[in-house]
Symmetry: C2
């Protein structure tokens, strides 16, 4: 059977010298799907890099409008292919076709692309900053090179290397994207790339604006990141994989944005448990098992105060976890990872109170899993106890008192999110005031009375956080315009003649509505108006 083609320089073509192949797998059955994909030799990657460099040159002279047109058109073409995309993604990931893929993830993906297009048109993301007296002007602008995006397994559309958040941000910033298809949904990625190529054709964007490659040996991944034609990297995936790429990028002082792991601690304070234990258990169960628990913001750790009410909460939760149908995991690796994580947690003293193993079914179905551990046991080995179990699994810590809760929070690694549930009458306020500042410092997004799954695409979002959740605490991968600025450089112009300035920095406001920081005031006015 022939292997699926790569997208290189505006054409789908066979790998030049494939060193092997792999299949997409249907995780609901464990069986191979009909599509086979190549492992590329370096030849393919070299061609991709050359085409990307060509696209960088072309973009240098092109109006920014072109990128907005491309992003909007691409969103349209994705919508036109909804049925095929949803079908492929469902087969490859097992994620529910109508409820998740079609109704939530695909619209979110096209929304991100269109928000990015709107940001390109509005130009405000560039944060044009002008000192009229000194005649010094600065703004963010495109990097001089391609952005490589390594997408994760868990969002075949919304974080796809060829269509997701990092992709949209990098294109909006002005760089071509080299997308590495994830092996868990290579066919979906290929269909997206087909839509992207159509959008390139329709809008006349550079042929090398979007390219798609599949697998290759790890060394080539490092060589790709080390290549001078690459100017930044976006990576969502495992900590070990991310750290290896980071080392290569860091050595050449190149920006790399990583999202690597997070267990998203939830603190349920005593008043909240007294007030609405069953409600919180239901919210917790829904959030923890959504997408079979394979969300970056899955609530993998819950902490509450040991006692009768906590026992009730654990029973209520365990009943829900037990009653809920086993969900399907993305692939064999995720299932094996669950086994391994649960082994580490139980070896360190955690007790399984619901689930705990792969379901007795074909494919990669897994039981909803709940574990508990005492605060003391947690503190005996806090590192291992924070092992991420990527799937429908959570560990409840039963802390003996407020001091121990505080001590445990001090051991938390950096996470994307952290939540506090408190009562409505104010009984928890004192404890909140003590614990929230500690938790705040460990997470990118702090929530009240709300589970962390569901990452709204809004300018106020922070889908980021301290290491090891990401590689830098100042950046977010979701939320425009901040996500775009990651893939940009800061450019200052000192005494540069007016007509030579980029439109964003000329006296006249280029859109009439763009926000600029002129002499320390944000304004939409022209200079000298």
């Amino acid at each position: 059977m022939s292997m699926q083609p790569l997208l290189i320089n505006g054409e789908f073509r066979a790998a030049a010298n494939p060193t092997g192949s792999y299949h997409s797998t249907n995780p609901m059955s464990g069986e191979d799907l009909p599509w086979s994909f190549p492992y590329s030799e370096w030849d393919d990657i070299e061609e991709v890099l050359q085409a990307a460099a060509g696209a960088v040159s072309e973009l240098r002279g092109a109006p920014r409008q072109l990128l907005a047109d491309f992003l909007d058109t691409y969103a349209d073409r994705i919508e036109q292919r909804t049925d095929a995309l949803v079908e492929a993604a469902h087969l490859e990931t097992g994620l529910p076709a109508p409820t998740r893929l079609q109704s939530i993830e695909l619209p979110r993906t096209t929304d991100q692309l269109r928000q990015a297009a709107a940001a390109v048109r509005a130009r405000s993301w560039t944060q044009a900053t002008i000192d009229t007296a000194a005649n010094i002007r600065s703004c963010y602008g495109p990097l001089e090179g391609a952005v490589v995006v390594f997408g994760p397994n868990n969002f075949p559309f919304a974080f796809n290397g060829a269509a997701g958040g990092d992709f949209a941000a990098a294109i909006a910033a002005g760089s071509p994207v080299i997308a590495k298809a994830h092996s868990s949904h290579s066919r979906t990625s290929q269909l997206l790339a087909e839509a992207a190529l159509e959008a390139i054709g329709i809008t006349g964007a550079p042929k090398g604006l979007v390219q798609l490659i599949y697998r290759f040996k790890p060394e080539y991944g490092y060589d790709l990141v080390a290549d001078h034609r690459v100017a930044a990297v976006g990576f969502t995936g495992s900590r070990s994989g991310g750290m290896r790429l980071k080392e290569v990028a860091d050595r050449r002082g190149m920006p790399i944005y990583l999202e690597m792991s997070s267990i998203n601690p939830i603190l349920i304070l005593p008043g909240a448990l007294s007030e609405r234990s069953q409600d919180i258990a239901e919210e917790f169960f829904t959030s923890c098992t959504m997408g079979t628990g394979q969300f970056c913001t899955n609530p993998g750790l819950v902490m509450t105060m040991a006692g009768a009410e906590a026992e009730t909460f654990v029973e209520q939760s365990a009943a829900l976890f037990d009653d809920g149908a086993a969900g399907v995991l993305l692939n064999r690796g995720v299932s094996e990872g669950m086994d391994e994580s649960i082994r580490i947690l139980t070896r360190n003293g955690a007790e399984v109170v619901a689930g705990g193993a792969a379901a007795d079914a074909p494919g990669y179905f897994y039981e909803n899993t709940l574990l508990t551990v005492s605060g003391e046991q947690f503190l005996a080995n806090p590192q291992d106890m924070q092992t991420e179990a990527f799937g429908p699994s959570s560990l409840v810590i039963l802390a003996k008192d407020a001091d121990q809760m505080a001590q445990i929070i001090q051991c938390f690694e950096g996470n994307l999110t952290g939540c506090l549930y408190t009562d409505s009458a104010g009984a928890d306020d004192e404890l909140y005031d003590r614990l929230a500042p500690q938790l705040r410092a460990k997470v990118g997004r702090l929530l009240n009375d709300k589970m962390p799954t569901g990452v709204a695409v809004t300018p106020a979002m922070n889908h980021g956080g301290p290491f090891p959740a990401t590689g830098h605490p100042g950046f977010t991968s979701v939320g425009i315009p901040a996500s775009i600025r990651r893939f940009a450089a800061l450019y200052s112009y000192d005494n540069v003649r007016q007509h030579r300035l980029p439109p964003e920095l000329q006296d006249r406001n280029p859109t009439g509505k763009m926000w600029r920081l002129i002499d320390q005031q944000w304004t939409q006015d022209d200079i000298g108006a």
Copy 2:
């Protein structure tokens, strides 16, 4: 003779177990100055780290106002000690006391501190971003740890680890600073730290807000950067030193901001040379020899088109370099570095047309040095030809034509600045349009018809640039508020109860004037007003 004390946790005290000592040196005579400073054992550093952690805790509950008061008071106390500071800095660095240290650098330093104080009061640097419909709100806020600042040799006040730009930015962001005194001006740093301690006393700021340490063995530097109580690092210095610290910081995903090297290419296009060769030669000479050439933005590379006019320009420049008095370098190391760099350049085909050696005088005086090289020779070994000669030295490339100029620009490493001189009638416009975009991509600040020395402290400044000038192309070390955000984390609040939000994110504008991005519009209004 007794060794000078360190500033640890609000007290000046002797090093606990010094492993040795060093002296400040007067570069004008080469002789030791009366002050001796300790090499610290780890004991001192551990105490500093503990005190810094204490300051982090204290700051968590303190009003931001306190930091503004500290910064303003510190600026006042520096001014009160002007005479002593200028005298010490002059003795330790040889920089001219009245013209440079007193009239320019000290006022610049206090201005930076006061700008930082104003930014803390105005709060707009936090870029509060609010989505009212989703009730998600984000802003930049303090890191959870200290900032270590390694200042450079060339600005005893304005980039001093205990008073300069990185210092002001880190304090304004809300972190205590651990300052490593530079060996070239340790006494100056100590006097600054005395003023800082007074300001701590007057304002009631945490004792560990500013601490000062001197030398220690390199391993301790890495251990310091690796310590969990440190949350970020600012470094200005050599590429080799910066890269070693970067590796340690990168491994733990901790922000490190580096300014490492820059030769600041100047392109003089043919029309400009025809029009005003002598004027440009004078600007060039002044800029290149200011501060004895020891500026990060020193014009160390000039490119022009070979021919009669270029010969004239080189002659005019060489005459100025020859006639100018030899300046004094900061220390023996800088002088030896000049020798070594000139050796590398001449070995690769550059010709010395003025100066080229240490002056025949006591101390570290060095001749103003001008070299030339053909475009061809430059291209034969572009890496070596970009060796930074840190001092009053510049290399003029005589390119044979526009194509060769373009080819040479492609070989440029990342730099802080790049300039183009063009004629006023438009004869150079076509060549500008070709070369400027290429140069633009290689530098942080692009100038027209102006030399790069003189880094205005304005929000529109970018004192940054692509690697290896710095470690990330998106950040600037000069220019408030952007320099502050380097030492901050992005914090998002999702559904957090109103009274638990930081003041910046509550419905009511905390100052009545703070700029916030509310529902995608920058405004100074309250929410619901």
